[in-house]
Subunit: 343 residues, 2 copies
């Protein structure tokens, strides 16, 4: 592609992103201060159409970008330094200090959604894959035990279960030590089934606790697997955008946001891949989201996956703003999380 074509394509796409109106040759000549006529631009546009970057809404309408067009645009922005640098958003993020990672990320999503008209998404840590650091068990009530799992990330997670027989806090301390010794470094929910069964035999006097705990963890796992680990903010602003006049599309997108299994898996898988973290239209491989785009950035802390933040909007998204914003915020959050854990 020649330089002029690139300039025209870029201008056409960024114009459409702004106006949501198909752009024509005349407008482009004006915007670009070109010394060529609209007819020349028309020829170029036609070429860009055969290349698959632009399309017409109807015969002899102006052009709008195809998915491939957006993809080229995003790659172009990322290649050249077309991405605006975004000022840190300290002010609103400051209150996030000491918090559980999950709460922190949810708050971040709220702040982020206030900075644009799209939907902010956070994926909170996958507790199943987290390496255990230490287990604490606290006797809350006569027979109610709070289990606190502290992972290597410095983040904690709790759940409660009922004992069948009375135990003292001292006993629970011993049990906690036993479990910690066996499971340190392992992902708790994935390994506990095997380990606990083993412990039942090894420590017959605590067999009852291990059995109950084992069953409880199993039950919790199946419950957690079906429950949300995704959090969403700013839907109401997004659906005011012109593309959401289409009720069918709106319905589809909201459905995917509510029954979030697809998005959860997509984001999870993208976190570990090494792509640019932008998914455009058909790249979702999901009809319900084919009019949308998603910008994702993982949040790590001390080399461990702490979660991810992302932005879902129409394909006609202000990539030049959103991409650096998401990166900026994920960087900041990473610092906050690392700081508070002293890693």
């Amino acid at each position: 592609m020649e330089k002029r074509q690139k300039v025209i394509l870029k201008e056409a796409i960024s114009n459409y992103i702004q106006s949501a109106e198909p752009v024509g040759s005349k407008l482009l000549v004006e915007k670009l201060n070109f010394s060529v006529s609209s007819a020349t631009v028309r020829n170029e546009l036609k070429l860009l159409e055969t290349l698959g970057f632009l399309k017409q809404v109807y015969t002899s309408s102006g052009r709008i970008p195809t998915d491939e067009g957006y993809r080229w645009y995003v790659d172009f922005l990322e290649g050249s330094n077309g991405l605006a640098s975004v000022a840190p958003v300290n002010a609103q993020l400051e209150m996030i200090a000491v918090q559980k990672v999950k709460n922190t990320l949810n708050h971040v999503a709220k702040v982020m959604s206030s900075l644009m008209d799209y939907t902010a998404i956070v994926l909170t840590p996958d507790i199943y894959k987290m390496a255990l650091k230490v287990v604490h068990m606290v006797l809350l009530d006569l027979n109610k035990v709070l289990v606190v799992l502290l992972n290597k990330l410095g983040d904690n997670q709790e759940f409660v279960f009922n004992l069948r027989q009375r135990m003292s806090q001292d006993d629970l301390n011993k049990v906690s030590q036993i479990i910690t010794a066996k499971m340190e470094g392992l992902p708790f929910f994935e390994s506990s089934d095997f380990v606990l069964r083993h412990l039942v035999k090894e420590f017959p006097n605590y067999a009852s606790v291990f059995e109950v705990l084992s069953k409880e963890v199993e039950r919790l796992s199946s419950f957690h697997k079906t429950s949300e680990s995704i959090n969403v903010h700013g839907v109401s602003k997004m659906i005011q955008l012109p593309e959401f006049k289409n009720v069918e599309m709106t319905k589809n997108v909201l459905t995917e946001l509510e029954e979030n299994r697809f998005l959860t898996e997509l984001i999870s898988s993208h976190i570990f891949g090494d792509d640019d973290g932008v998914v455009i239209g058909k790249e979702f491989n999901n009809e319900k989201l084919e009019d949308c785009s998603l910008v994702i950035s993982p949040v790590k802390s001390g080399g461990v996956q702490a979660g991810a933040i992302g932005v879902l909007g129409p394909k006609r998204m202000k990539y030049s703003y959103v991409i650096p914003l998401v990166k900026q915020i994920s960087d900041q959050v990473q610092h906050y999380i690392s700081d508070q854990d002293g890693i």
Copy 2:
């Protein structure tokens, strides 16, 4: 109002609820197997319109209910035994056993939304008003402390804070005992500021912990006050209903569901009132919700407020199904919660 008028009004409203189409005199005669002509029904309809229960969409269209009409209808259903009895929904609710109340209620909302096309809302317990039973503090890390608040309801809530100086678990146990002794029965977040300041003087050797804790609680309070205590399921199904063709209305409702302060307060206040738990259209005193209705039922456990479940839908809601359903489910949940706490 005479009997025939009541029959006509009831039939008109329930018909509109089913069809979403204005109902006319001819249709009513058919449906009711009346031995009178459509002209007679027309006269009655006119009367019902002057009484304020029905209105026309335009001159000489069929009738649709006014807010007052819906109100009459709901009161009528509740007065007569027009409310269908709903079979218990044990199957899906069984997995909720030992869980924190918050998780339980969220799960219930999901199940409930699967039973209809409206939005299920749950309000989780207001931690600010809960009477404290006991405080546990657990040393998680070198300087990280997990605070566990157990309330009279048997429900627990945790938060984490960082110590300024090293302390042993033994010290923390003492501190926990001191706080528990002072604050038992009080609402923790509302009282802790005052109590903790006092403890700083009373126990100089623990002054530092009490100070840090005090600041932390203050920070957490302001954070929690702005955070959600509401949870929502089934929006995507609801917006497929014909009333949500109107984009403006959809936008309004989604906004209120996202920035849920209004709904949160409304539901909270209704929990303690002694009305029937149905809010219709203008009764919201909120323009954004004036095309909606809300059915709420509180969830109590051992005399204490544990939260609330509700259903938000269009005014044209299947009250005869939703009202008993919500009550049925809230009863069931109440039993589950009470059972698990052994109260």
